[in-house]
Point group: C2
Chain length 160, copies 2
C-alpha cells in the first residue's frame, strides 16, 4: 500500500508532477473579480473606471448583464491619442465584440487559461457561464483570468 | 546509488518539487528583449513606439544607455486624457524615475521576479547589470521580465 504521509513515491518525473498540478487547478479556484461597464458608457467613463478600479481590462455588458465585449488599456490609449471626442463615443463602438472574444469557463484549467492568454496575445480572459435563453445563447461573466492572476498563482506555487 | 533514469525517488512532497523548480529557474534564462527610448523623446513618440513594438512598458535610458526610468501604458493613458500637448512633453517628465524603479538581476530566480511583480503591483521589471563608473553607479538594461514572461513560463511548465 502507498504510505499515507502526503508524499509522492510514484516514480513520476518532476516535470509530470508540475504539469499535473498546473492542469488540475481549475479556473474557478483562481478567477478574480471582473469589472464591468455598460455598452453605452463613454470612452472617457471607461478610462476613469479603469483608473478608479485599477484594472487593465473592462468587460462590456448589456442591460441584462450578458457579455458583449471588452476594452483594454491598449484600446483606450489608441482612441485617446486620436482626434475623437472621448466624452461622446460609447465604448460599444471601440470594444472588441463577441464572438471575437477569447473566453474561458470555470471548469477549464489554469493551464488552459494561461495558454489562451499566450496564444491569442491578450491580457485578460472573461470567465463565462453559457446560458441558453430560448434560441439565444448568452454569456454571463462570473470572473476573469489575467496575466496578473497567473503571475500570482506562479508565486503561490513557488512558495516553499 | 540513485537510479539514473531522470526520475525523482527522493520522497519530496510534490509542493517542494514545484517550488524547487521555480526557484531554480534564473531570470537570465527567461528574460525578454526590452524596448528602450531616450529621456528626451516626446510622450507621443513613446505611445507610437509602444504600439509599433507591441509592448506594455518602455524603459527610458540616457544618452550613454544607462537606465533612468520607465513608462507604462497606464502612465501614457493618464497623460493622453489630460490637456497636455503630448507632442511637447518629454517622457522624462512623466516617467517613474530611478531609484523608484523595481529592478531584478539576471542571477535572481523567476520566483523572485514574479514576487516583485506581485508585491509592487507592476507589469514589468527591467533586468539590470549594475556597473560602477568612478563613484557613480550605473544600471545597464539587459532584458525585462513581465507578467507575459511569467505567463509563458507557466505554460511551459504545464506542458506534459
Amino acid at each position: 500500500a502507498r504510505p499515507r504521509v502526503g508524499y509522492f513515491f510514484s516514480g513520476k518525473p518532476a516535470r509530470n508532477i508540475i504539469s499535473e498540478k498546473i492542469n488540475n487547478i481549475k479556473v474557478d479556484e483562481i478567477k478574480a473579480v471582473p469589472v464591468v461597464i455598460k455598452e453605452g458608457s463613454s470612452v472617457y467613463d471607461a478610462i476613469v473606471t479603469l483608473f478608479l478600479e485599477d484594472v487593465g481590462t473592462l468587460f462590456v455588458v448589456q442591460e441584462d448583464g450578458s457579455l458583449v465585449g471588452l476594452v483594454s488599456r491598449k484600446d483606450l490609449l489608441k482612441i485617446a491619442i486620436g482626434n475623437a471626442d472621448i466624452h461622446k463615443i460609447p465604448v460599444g463602438v471601440i470594444m472588441t465584440r463577441m464572438p471575437n472574444l477569447i473566453t474561458v469557463t470555470p471548469e477549464e484549467s489554469a493551464y488552459d487559461a494561461a495558454q489562451k492568454i499566450v496564444d491569442h496575445q491578450v491580457d485578460a480572459l472573461p470567465v463565462v457561464k453559457i446560458e441558453q435563453e430560448g434560441d439565444k445563447i448568452k454569456y454571463r461573466v462570473v470572473g476573469k483570468v489575467t496575466k496578473t492572476t497567473i503571475t500570482k498563482l506562479f508565486v503561490e506555487l513557488g512558495k516553499a
